[in-house]
């Protein structure tokens, strides 16, 4: 009887552990590696998630020109208010901006007079532009003095040096000389109605805007303020201290709290237009999306690593049972057996966690240049602790729980059995796999219906929510598909014995029936291995496809924003013909493959001024890289064909269709500016389809028509922009060359820059690092699911192979058993895994549609990665089989003696 007194327990455990480390090195190492993979993956992804959120917050801050617009209420002492605001804690700068409504602008040139509708004149201090440099963008002329908004300049057909008159309600117009033309990149927020709810904001900023120095504004509009105070108002533009919490949601709460505090402090004398808060509100939903992405893409990886660990541990279960039986036969108590299992678990957890954290640090340094992935120390620490906790849980579930169960429930005789005639598992009898797939389909149907929102972040509402319910669809599909893979493999191997025998006949010759019988009896082992491979392939391939689709759409987004690899946008007021010397110069630039001219005009649809793009239907499809997702009611080709078939065809935005109750074929009369007279004239069109997106176009309302028809009806073929196709190569260099060649006569933008500056949308978050980390882990998991588990399974059956060799089996005959099992396991897993990946990818992209802007036409399949993964799986399988066969070349005599 094993007589171990309590005081000897530690020594007993240490002796046992020492023996395990020396004699069961492979199994212990493989189990620890499984834990390490899970810990490493979680630590990497967690730290990356934290760093991503901080990046989103910073990007949100960077995209806002003015943090707050504090609007003084009527009758308030503006100068006192300015002092109070400037003295407010954590406000680092403030500038006074005066607004006046004008009845319109007018210009006279070459005997013609152009007038505009009502507009706004802003008075800005001399220091405003240095305090808020992103508010105005110089286009041509001076950067101070009287500045005209580019659309206004186009409407008035004026350039710097020309004079315009500004109408004042009830007062005489005043004349000023235009010094420069500017763009207002954030006109929406600049002209917001401060204090109005989201739905009550104006649909579009004014088209007619002039900016004048503060002193001039007072000269022009103080008289108006005296007579019509309702037509003028004052705002204080504020820049805040940007030391904010890294999480966008926390930063949002901080900023909005401070805004409400200021409003309370000012006691109704002013309202705060919280631009930074509004931007952070968007960023916090993006952050939630990234959190969801983490859940969708990261957690399954960790679960898989856990399953692999369990499979690795289970591969040594028979041996562990026999060891337990020996110990029990020599008097070990159940408590002592459980104690040994606990010590083994601790060893695996400690080694695995240490390896995992080291792996995460190495990956962080290799991919991100920092072991912390750019996250704060606290966030890194928290995620490391969480990852280690997950690692410990996996070790407990994989090692301690089964060992404890065996120690408590199995008899010595049971423990010595290695193969039993067992019925199907309960879940198979109950059809749990089919039920899971059914529920997955149901959840998918519910979560992919129109109007469903995965992330709900209502503007102005502090709380945001994620519908984690949507996570259930892909999760249940993944688990259900894994179990179904088990069921199908089990069924195929169990019922298809004669078929398998025929298939493996060339490999195993006269042994084919025996090999098939052997496989049939081990079908649970084969089915378990196949399910693990299917889960791994399903996870890795769907992750890769999702990531590739995500990158594809990010690229589409960048192309949509910039229009092409390089976009040459003509300056307002300049007339550039498609056959001009500039166009020729662009086309001749080295590296340029194709130049596509696009007209850009402003057209009135009723009273609504919209952007109109004139295109050449024969070339825009490829030159603009138009996607089906840009259009509604047909593919890109179908809609562009409609445009080509009818000269006066017009594509309009969905919003316009809704606002004007249009049906296809309806006649629409647009008012366009005549190229010669600069007067707006009526031009008839016919509505033929809906364009949701278009290169260089704004997201809300725009129109697309035939360039030749616009040129014929307006007498001008002036081009708004040239889309330059470089074949995706040397974009920055070609962009630089064009800038040097064409000087300041136009704006040259390129795709590389566009990728950097696409707002705060999630697609702008650089997921390359995450992708690389995750896909590398997925490859490791694929290798482990195939090669490692097979190898361990074969290792545990070394004695069987030794007996077969002693009976006279040669390498080829032994290989028949090994290859049949390896091929069946990996083959069935790859097949069901591929089907799972296809279904899962489609489901992921549909459920996470909110991540994509624009929505993808089709999945992007990363063939190189998938081929690599297939190669890794096959090589790992082949290696495991070859090692098993090679190591059985001569019988291990000590194994023949073993129990």
């Amino acid at each position: 009887m094993l007589n171990i007194h309590p005081w000897r327990t530690v020594r007993f455990h240490s002796v046992w552990m020492g023996a395990l480390v020396r004699r069961r090195t492979g199994r212990l190492t493989a189990t620890a590696v499984g834990v390490a993979l899970a810990v490493g993956l979680l630590a990497c992804l967690g730290a990356f998630l934290s760093a991503s959120k901080a990046t989103m917050t910073q990007r949100a801050i960077d995209t806002v020109a003015v943090d707050w617009q504090v609007e003084a209420q009527a009758g308030t002492d503006a100068s006192a208010l300015a002092s109070e605001i400037a003295a407010t804690r954590r406000i680092t700068a403030s500038e006074t901006v005066s607004f006046a409504n004008t009845t319109g602008f007018e210009s006279s040139k070459a005997g013609t007079t152009q007038t505009t509708g009502p507009g706004q004149v802003l008075g800005m201090t001399g220091t405003y532009r240095s305090t808020f440099p992103a508010q105005l963008r110089d286009l041509i002329g001076a950067s101070d003095g009287v500045l005209l908004f580019q659309q206004t300049a186009a409407n008035l057909a004026v350039q710097p040096g020309d004079t315009i008159s500004i109408g004042r309600a009830g007062l005489a117009s005043v004349t000023v000389t235009v010094d420069g033309i500017v763009d207002l990149p954030q006109a929406d927020s600049l002209f917001q109605t401060v204090g109005a709810p989201v739905g009550a904001q104006a649909q579009a900023p004014p088209d007619n805007v002039a900016i004048v120095p503060s002193t001039l504004w007072h000269q022009l509009f103080d008289p108006l303020a005296a007579t019509r105070p309702d037509l003028v108002h004052t705002q204080f533009h504020v820049r805040l201290d940007h030391h904010l919490p890294p999480d966008p949601a926390a930063a949002y709460n901080d900023i909005t709290g401070r805004a409400r505090n200021l409003e309370a402090h000012l006691a109704g004398r002013a309202l705060v237009g919280d631009n930074l808060g509004a931007t952070l509100a968007g960023a916090r939903s993006d952050a939630l999306y990234s959190q969801v992405l983490f859940l969708f893409l990261g957690v399954p990886g960790a679960v898989l690593a856990g399953l692999l660990t369990a499979a690795v541990a289970a591969s040594g279960r028979d041996r562990r049972r026999r060891e337990q039986a020996l110990l029990r036969a020599r008097g070990a108590t159940t408590r002592q057996l459980v104690g040994l299992a606990t010590t083994e678990t601790a060893l695996v957890a400690i080694i695995g966690s240490a390896l995992g954290l080291a792996l995460a640090a190495l990956v962080g340094r290799a991919v991100f240049g920092t072991t912390r992935f750019g996250a704060t120390t606290a966030a890194t620490l928290i995620w490391s602790i969480a990852a280690v906790a997950a690692g410990v849980a996996i070790a407990v579930a994989s090692v301690a729980v089964p060992a404890r169960r065996d120690a408590r429930e199995l008899t010595v005789t049971d423990a010595r059995r290695t193969l039993r005639r067992l019925g199907n598992p309960r879940w198979m009898r109950w059809g749990i796999d089919l039920a899971l797939l059914l529920v997955a389909a149901l959840v998918f149907w519910l979560t992919s219906r129109n109007g469903y929102q995965l992330v709900l972040a209502v503007e102005g509402v502090p709380s945001i929510s994620v519908s984690y319910w949507a996570f259930a669809g892909p999760a249940l599909l993944w688990i259900g598909a894994g179990l179904l893979s088990y069921r199908l493999t089990n069924l195929a191997v169990g019922r298809g014995r004669s078929l398998i025998a025929r298939v493996i006949q060339p490999l195993s010759g006269g042994l084919s029936d025996t090999v098939a019988a052997s496989l049939q009896r081990q079908r649970r082992l084969v089915a378990r291995g196949a399910a693990l491979v299917a889960l791994t392939i399903g996870f890795a391939a769907s992750t890769a496809i999702f990531n590739a689709t995500y990158r594809q759409q990010a690229e589409v987004d960048a192309i949509l924003s910039n229009g092409a690899d390089v976009t040459f946008t003509t300056s307002p007021g300049t007339l550039v013909s498609p056959t001009s010397s500039q166009a020729t110069a662009i086309a001749k630039t080295s590296g340029v493959h194709h130049v596509e001219p696009i007209q850009h005009r402003f057209a009135y649809v009723g009273a609504d001024l919209q952007d109109l793009y004139g295109v050449n239907p024969s070339s825009i499809l490829s030159a603009g890289r138009l996607q089906d997702g840009y259009f509604q009611g047909g593919s890109a080709r179908q809609l562009i064909d409609k445009l080509a078939a009818q000269p006066d065809a017009l594509l309009v935005s969905a919003e316009t269709v809704h606002d004007f109750q249009l049906v296809p074929g309806d006649a629409i009369t647009l008012r366009l500016q005549n190229g010669d007279t600069k007067q707006y004239i009526d031009v008839p069109f016919h509505y033929v389809g809906v364009a949701k997106e278009f290169p260089t176009a704004p997201h809300d309302s725009f129109l697309v028509a035939n360039a030749t028809y616009i040129a014929a009806t307006t007498g001008s073929d002036a081009v708004g922009a040239f889309l330059v196709d470089t074949g995706g190569a040397n974009i920055s260099n070609i962009s630089r060359t064009l800038r040097q060649q064409l000087g300041t006569t136009a704006t040259v933008t390129d795709l590389d820059s566009s990728r950097q500056i696409i707002g705060s949308s999630l697609t702008a978050v650089d997921l390359d690092g995450l992708t690389r980390v995750e896909l590398a882990f997925a490859l490791a998991l694929a290798a482990a699911a195939t090669g490692l588990t097979l190898w361990l399974g074969f290792t545990e059956r070394r004695r069987t192979f030794a007996i077969a060799t002693a009976l006279g089996a040669n390498q080829r005959q032994l290989g028949a058993f090994v290859w049949a099992e390896a091929t069946m396991t990996t083959g069935a897993g790859l097949f069901t895994g591929t089907v799972t990946a296809w279904a899962l990818s489609n489901m992921l992209v549909t459920v996470l549609h909110g991540v994509f802007d624009p929505a993808p036409d089709s999945l992007a399949v990363p063939w190189n990665y998938l081929t690599t993964m297939l190669a890794v799986a096959l090589i790992a399988t082949a290696t495991a089989a070859l090692v098993a066969i090679r190591s059985s070349r001569t019988p291990h005599l000590e194994l023949l003696r073993a129990l």
């Binding site: 006269g510 042994l511 019988a517 069987t800 077969a804 006279g808 129990l899």
Partner: protein, 230 residues
């Protein structure tokens, strides 16, 4: 090897055979200077204390291991590469049936490994099982058998292969007396039926006394070769 040896039915002949494990001061000499011959039909009991080199000698005679000194030859069989499957069969002390194969598949396996067609192999396996009264177990899995049944099935596997030399390494070591007796009966029957030589490594004097010859190993040396008094 001479034609006389073949003619006289020498199955295996050891000449001054030694087997040393390891090297240097830690080297262990398991078998030392063993010489002897085994002829077809010989029934030999190999006994000796634990660690005396009995199993190592059996492995050497089976061609599973190579001597570090001396020579072993199998005159009536031929070269080492022809020993298995077929001419030499082994029964191990520990369970040696392949877990995923049922009884009849286990018994037929050595024949299939020899390239004999499935139907013939199965028929031979059936016959061997019947001769040992094990036909009722043919569809059982090894884990469904008792220790004695499993060893008798292992003997049936030997019988089906009709070998020239049967080597049994403590085949009754894990069995009770009755089961052990049945296994020895089966082994002797198998050897007698096929005319094969039988060497049984055993600690059991009862078993040893049932065999014609008695070899004894002490400290790696085959110290005696006596005719059994049965």
């Amino acid at each position: 090897m001479t034609s006389d040896m073949v003619a006289s039915g020498v199955v295996v002949r050891a000449v001054d055979v030694a087997r040393t494990f390891g090297s240097g001061p830690s080297a262990v000499v398991a078998v030392h200077g063993v010489s002897g011959e085994v002829r077809l039909g010989d029934l030999i009991a190999l006994s000796g204390p634990s660690g005396s080199g009995k199993t190592t000698l059996l492995h050497l005679l089976a061609g599973l291991d190579r001597p570090t000194a001396g020579m072993i030859e199998w005159p009536s069989i031929g070269g080492r590469e022809r020993l298995r499957p077929g001419p030499i069969a082994i029964v191990f002390q520990a369970p040696s049936l392949l877990p995923p194969l049922d009884v009849i598949e286990n018994v037929a396996l050595p024949l299939l490994l020899q390239g004999i067609d499935r139907h013939t192999a199965r028929a031979a396996a059936d016959e061997a099982l019947s001769r040992l009264d094990l036909a009722s177990l043919s569809t059982k899995l090894p884990e469904e058998l008792s220790g004695g049944q499993a060893q008798r099935v292992a003997v049936a596997r030997v019988l089906a292969g009709r070998p020239q030399l049967i080597l049994a390494d403590e085949p009754t070591g894990q069995l009770d007396h009755a089961s052990g007796g049945a296994v020895i009966d089966a082994l002797i029957a198998a050897a007698t039926d096929t005319g094969a030589a039988l060497i049984v490594n055993t600690h059991d004097d009862t078993v040893a006394h049932r065999l014609d010859h008695h070899w004894s190993m002490t400290n790696g040396r085959l110290t005696t070769e006596v005719r059994a008094s049965c």
